[in-house]
Symmetry: C2
DNA sequence: CTCAAGTGAGACACTTATGTCTCATTCGAT
DNA sequence: ATCGAATGAGACATAAGTGTCTCACTTGAG
């Protein structure tokens, strides 16, 4: 009998592979009956919302774990640069699971999730701005754009991994290097 | 009475805003009756498939218009660099519309569309490889990864534009600059 | 003006997913 | 071994979307 969290995990995997999966599909993916799934999550919307909450929690954990606020406040270029490595690495570790949750319509439409993610974006943008002020990142790019660019590269990383174009062990370096120094021959 | 192409355009816009839009929604978006919509496209799948074809056509047009094959064959670094500018600029011009089509499950599952897009990816990858050989792009990044990275930045650009974080006129420079030289302070 | 083609509105049958409920069975704690 | 809680399977009503069809109406060409 899978725990509630295992059910959510199975649902997330299934929805990543097949975004239109029905409650019956999700129950099967978790190895439980449809009725049991409904005992855990009254409606499909509840389940999806909880999945969204889960993903946003992981995102927040990454920001917390990398201590972006503290490092940004320090203003130390070396620490900021290390923190950036750390943050992207944490994001990449989660990117497999995030795919669905961050793009699904029913989630991007939930007001509370949108509000939470806006706060997290603000934290991230503040960190990028600090990195610019410390001379770690170029100051001529809007910090909000940097946040989008990082997100885009995470999408790219996820796709590349899914298709098998890059190996997992190369991913961190690849993404970080592309983000920091770009693709142009120096 | 909107033409068939205008109907497709309206459907694309509507689906970008609301990926779950029903045939009734799409008919309303096009300003026609549901029966009329069904006269143009027998099934929803037909409509979606045609939308996918449309998007892939635009993608192919960008590759053709930039003449990536010819420029790659020339091996001229200056021409290659200009061509890259041109290509990204063309992609960005279409990015508004592509969002839905390239990520929708029902399209990424259509075998013929997948086959076509694989051929286009191959053309694009060949161009990046030529750019590496000519010393325009770094040779230490897999060309297939470069293709993913460009795609990711297009997603980022689309999002940034939708949210209003960047202005349309700045977009080309922003994306190209981020892709080529990265975000790090030189 | 006339007529044919196309259109919109609506009815219809069909399918699929959802959420609720019941009931027999299983499993664990006591 | 027994009791109780939880489960799986299935029935059920409901809702929503799909695809087909009919019919009255508009419109534009002849």
């Amino acid at each position: 009998m899978p725990t509630r969290d295992e059910i959510l995990g199975a649902a997330q995997r299934q929805l990543n592979a097949q975004p239109t999966a029905s409650m019956a599909d999700l129950a099967a993916a978790a190895g439980i009956g449809r009725a049991t799934l409904h005992r855990h999550f009254a409606t499909r919307e509840d389940l999806l919302h909880e999945l969204g909450t889960r993903s946003i929690d992981r995102w927040r954990d990454s920001l917390d774990g990398a201590d972006v606020a503290g490092v940004a406040a320090s203003g130390d270029p070396v620490r900021i640069r290390t923190c950036l490595d750390d943050l992207l690495s944490r994001y990449l570790a989660d990117s497999d699971d995030f795919g669905f949750a961050l793009t699904d319509f029913s989630l991007t439409a939930a007001p509370d999730l949108v509000a939470r993610s806006e706060r997290l974006v603000a934290r991230e943008v503040a960190f990028y701005a600090a990195a610019q002020a410390a001379g770690v990142l170029r100051a001529d790019l809007p910090p909000r754009w940097l946040a989008h660019a990082v997100y885009g590269l995470l999408v790219a990383a996820r796709d590349a991994l899914a298709v098998g174009d890059v190996a997992r062990r190369d991913l961190d370096t690849l993404v970080l290097s592309t983000f920091l120094t770009g693709a142009q021959q120096p």
